[in-house]
């Protein structure tokens, strides 16, 4: 069972009900639950969207797109039904924040889904959890059933004539790619989780061809809090153009790993050294992967930076999914880079050739390199391969594999070169030159 952690620097908005039994509907209601959605029904869609815009909330899945703006893109009238789709297919290595939300505050996700539905004129929402989260799916399913029993879901919700909203929960069955929004829709439609070409964007043509808002579970769970405290006040907690707080999962070599709720813009160095208690055993810091495994690595002298989408972008990396992975001096970057690319190779859906072939060759090259059969040219080849995957795929998985690889090669090139010296002397692997030579 995930242990809850706390630190005085935390600002508890999203996590304020954690550990208080709010998975039970009565407790949730007692803690101001389902007030925000009723307020939204009274005030109307325009008010909701304006509050969301004012909040400065940006997509917590990793892309950081302004949520209010996303909701406003949905056409007011549509021949086809509109939908809300909640992305709980949390799979980015280093990320376990949605896990905690579903466990401790499932009703916040439900209420947020309803609010999004009201804002865009949808009458149905889907909450999609990754297949591995079966025990969490059961918690969410119970929460949905309880909400129906109270008349919070279904027809004429909260006794309001003509206000209907239904929620269906859904499980995946193991696929990182399905966390990409268009692949998520494909999966929910009962297909292989491969991405769709964009445009059209889901806000116009989404699930079953209808306009659809797709938000990460944390984004959706933030909505009720924003409406209760007001968008402007929520925005004030965070940094410029990055409203509110965020759940940061700090893992790896730290004294106190855990999911902490920190204001957007909080200093990364402080998050590691103060909030998470510093590097484990007082060892030296080697590197930080700041927002899930797809984010380019930061060196120890690069971590004095604010944790928001813009500042992390300026630092040459990304805020991503908020999963901060800390590496101490004992870590071999060659091994770490290989493990990272192994994941993306395994998860590439195979739809786009640069990703399918690129991840495979990166894995092959890095595997040989790691096992002692590499040479200096491999380092350039890895960089060349990764650079040629960037921006050449339907969905961002290709980039997600290429970006960290490039980061490791660029920032740790001397370590890769050094690795060759310590490598085995007897040649057990065929080199690229020999491979090419053999075919000529």
């Amino acid at each position: 069972m995930p242990t809850l952690v706390s630190h005085p620097d935390e600002v508890r908005v999203l996590s304020r009900r954690f550990g208080q039994g709010a998975a039970e509907i009565d407790k949730y209601v007692e803690l101001d639950g389902y007030k925000a959605v009723q307020k939204a029904i009274e005030q109307g869609p325009e008010w909701v969207i304006n509050e969301m815009k004012a909040s400065g909330l940006r997509g917590r899945g990793g892309a950081g797109f302004p949520t209010g703006l996303k909701w406003s893109f949905v056409p007011k009238t549509s021949e086809k039904p509109k939908y809300v789709l909640v992305n709980g297919d949390e799979s980015e290595p280093g990320t376990c924040k949605d896990h905690v939300i579903f466990l401790h505050d499932p009703h916040a996700v439900i209420e947020g889904t309803m609010i999004a539905g009201l804002a865009i004129g949808a009458k149905m929402g889907f909450i999609y959890l990754r297949g591995e989260y079966r025990y969490l799916l059961k918690i969410v399913e119970k929460a949905v059933a309880d909400a129906y029993a109270k008349g919070f879901l279904g027809k004429n919700i909260f006794g309001k004539e003509g206000v209907d909203f239904d929620i269906v929960t859904q499980t995946g069955a193991g696929a990182y790619e399905v966390g990409e929004e268009s692949a998520l829709m494909e999966s929910l439609e009962g297909k292989r989780g491969v991405p769709r070409i964009k445009p059209p964007f889901p806000a116009v043509v989404g699930l079953y061809g209808g306009p659809t808002v797709i938000n990460n579970a944390e984004t959706i769970a933030s909505a009720p809090h924003i409406l209760l405290m007001g968008g402007a006040d929520y925005a004030k907690i965070g940094s410029e153009r990055n409203g509110g707080t965020r759940l940061f999962g700090i893992s790896g070599h730290v004294e106190r790993p855990g999911v902490y709720e920190l204001p957007m813009g909080y200093n990364l160095k402080k998050a590691i050294y103060e909030v998470a208690g510093g590097v484990k055993g007082g060892r030296k810091l080697k590197a930080v992967v700041p927002g899930g495994s797809s984010c380019p690595v930061l060196l120890p002298d690069e971590i004095d930076v604010g944790l928001d989408f813009d500042q992390m972008g300026k630092a040459g990396t990304m805020l991503g999914s908020g999963g901060i992975v800390v590496l101490d001096e004992t870590v071999s970057i060659v091994e770490f880079a290989l493990r990272t690319i192994k994941f993306y190779q395994h998860e590439s859906c195979g739809w786009c050739i640069p990703c399918r072939e690129g991840t495979d060759w990166l894995k092959k090259t890095l595997t040989r390199f790691y096992n002692g059969g590499g040479n200096l040219k491999d380092i350039n080849n890895i960089q060349y391969l990764a650079e040629n995957m960037m921006g050449r795929t339907f969905c961002p998985l290709g980039d997600a594999a290429a970006m960290p690889t490039l980061g490791f090669i660029k920032k740790f090139r001397p370590e890769f070169e050094e690795y060759l010296k310590g490598a085995r002397t007897e040649k057990t692997f065929i080199t690229t030159e020999e491979l090419i030579g053999a075919s000529h």
Binding site: S91, P93, Y135, G172, A173, G190, G249, F343
Partner: protein, 169 residues
């Protein structure tokens, strides 16, 4: 009564599937959960499972197999009664995920995607299971076990071997 006569599933599961197809605007949306729930009951996605699900959703068996082959949790061969899935992705790897995997291999005497001769356990090295802050972690069937040590793993496996572990369906 189930809409499918001669269903291969238990009455409870058959009924659940009857309901599942009514929840979505399109029946096919029930496919992925249906495959997973069927696997929970049968142990794997057998030919008979594919045939009945295709029938229930008005799909070709080929369509079902096309989807089945995409998702990594779905399997077409039986696993052990307790499927041990050890995460070795970055957060787990940094704090001993591979030691846990090696320990399980030695303890169970099997490798990746293998089953013990008595059919009790199977082992898999899996990608990130979303327990990074409580690493190293593994799942046995759907149960999460975190902050693992080799000693803790021994105790957990002993519980399952004694039939006392939760058999989550």
């Amino acid at each position: 009564m189930s809409t499918v006569t001669d269903s291969i599933f238990t009455p409870a599961t058959a009924e659940r599937f009857d309901k599942l197809v009514t929840l979505y605007p399109v029946k096919r949306s029930a496919l992925v959960p249906m495959l997973l729930y069927a696997q929970d009951e049968v142990g794997y996605v057998s030919d008979a499972v594919v045939a009945e699900i295709a029938q229930r959703l008005d799909l070709l068996e080929l369509d079902v197999r096309g989807v089945l082959s995409y998702y990594s949790m779905l399997r077409t061969k039986p696993a052990g009664k307790y499927n041990v899935q050890v995460c070795t992705n970055i957060s787990c790897m940094l704090v001993g995920g591979y030691d846990i995997l090696d320990h399980c291999k030695a303890k169970l005497g099997i490798g990746h995607k293998e089953v013990t001769p008595d059919g009790q356990f199977s082992l898999e090295e899996v990608e990130c299971i979303g327990a990074c802050c409580w690493a190293p972690a593994m799942q046995v069937n759907y149960d999460f076990h975190d902050n693992l040590t080799t000693v803790k793993v021994d105790a957990i496996l002993a519980e399952y071997a004694a039939g006392r572990g939760k058999d989550v369906k």
